[in-house]
Symmetry: C2
Subunit: 161 residues, 2 copies
Amino acid sequence: MTKNAGKPGRRGKNGAAADEALRLGPLADFIGFYLRLAQEASFQAFARRVREYQMRPGRFAVLALIGENPGISQTALSRAAGRDKSTLTPALNDLVRRALVKRRRVASDRRSYALSLTAKGERLLSELTFHARAHDRMLDELVGIEHKAEFIRALRRLALV
Amino acid sequence: MTKNAGKPGRRGKNGAAADEALRLGPLADFIGFYLRLAQEASFQAFARRVREYQMRPGRFAVLALIGENPGISQTALSRAAGRDKSTLTPALNDLVRRALVKRRRVASDRRSYALSLTAKGERLLSELTFHARAHDRMLDELVGIEHKAEFIRALRRLALV
DNA sequence: TTAGGGTAGTTTGAATACCAACAATCAACC
DNA sequence: GGTTGATTGTTGGTATTCAAACTACCCTAA
């Protein structure tokens, strides 16, 4: 009998969690607990998938939202992305530095910027969207395609809290 | 025609997102996108609810897991909580400093600690669990109690990615 | 024309997260 | 006994987040 004291359940490097050997207590019934685990796991999986592009889910969402809404302001973008506007400042600085996004001053309101993608940004967005679709198809399968619609409706309701 | 390009919809301070006025494009179908919004919203709501205790969901989960598994090591705890072990070092330092958690050296393996709650930690955990149950009942309602079981099963599958 | 209040974006500070690298320790093998 | 490889927890570096305070600007009303 060799060791297996604190034997962890198998799981890749960053075992998502829920080692069956451990007691979860009340956490076992909490939506919030699993929501965090699921979000983090999905986040990491996407980050790994597009690592070569130096992109993470947050940046991708920003790029996608600008692509869909050219001319959008940073504040409107922050609301759509569900992030504080102050969070977007460094993110956009990075995207502008990488020549993926253009910031244009608006004549009618000199406080705000009109954001749009560069040609390079458009190209990158296309590639990333391809990977994102593949990623989300994987999530679809885990959720079960027959449950997807209700699953997303539930998430949307939760997002409005 | 006055412009109303970036017209934001109404939403509390930190509008969760999904402004109907904005185009979401492919994001509209991505589970990952809504997963992040829902997780963040639920996180913030819980943090607001227990603000007076200076606790956030991460700390609560740590406390709850130690409470359920006295003697657990930091590495096992990190797996159960779905966090990197290095993330737990400062969190546990804080909980120990606040006299909520005890770190005990293990004779059989002097590398590791055996974590447990202090009496004060137990009392706080009880109070927090009360709030957490109330919080999660609110989430239950948003998800729809008849969908909860399937919803959590889906999240658990996602967490294993 | 100017005073007031509201809005856009930035800055700063505190949390929280991952990862890689490290010292100490353990375990297994020869 | 001694070498080798794995594991435990910490440290340091980087990234991301929110919230509050700030500047610059807009708009309305007197």
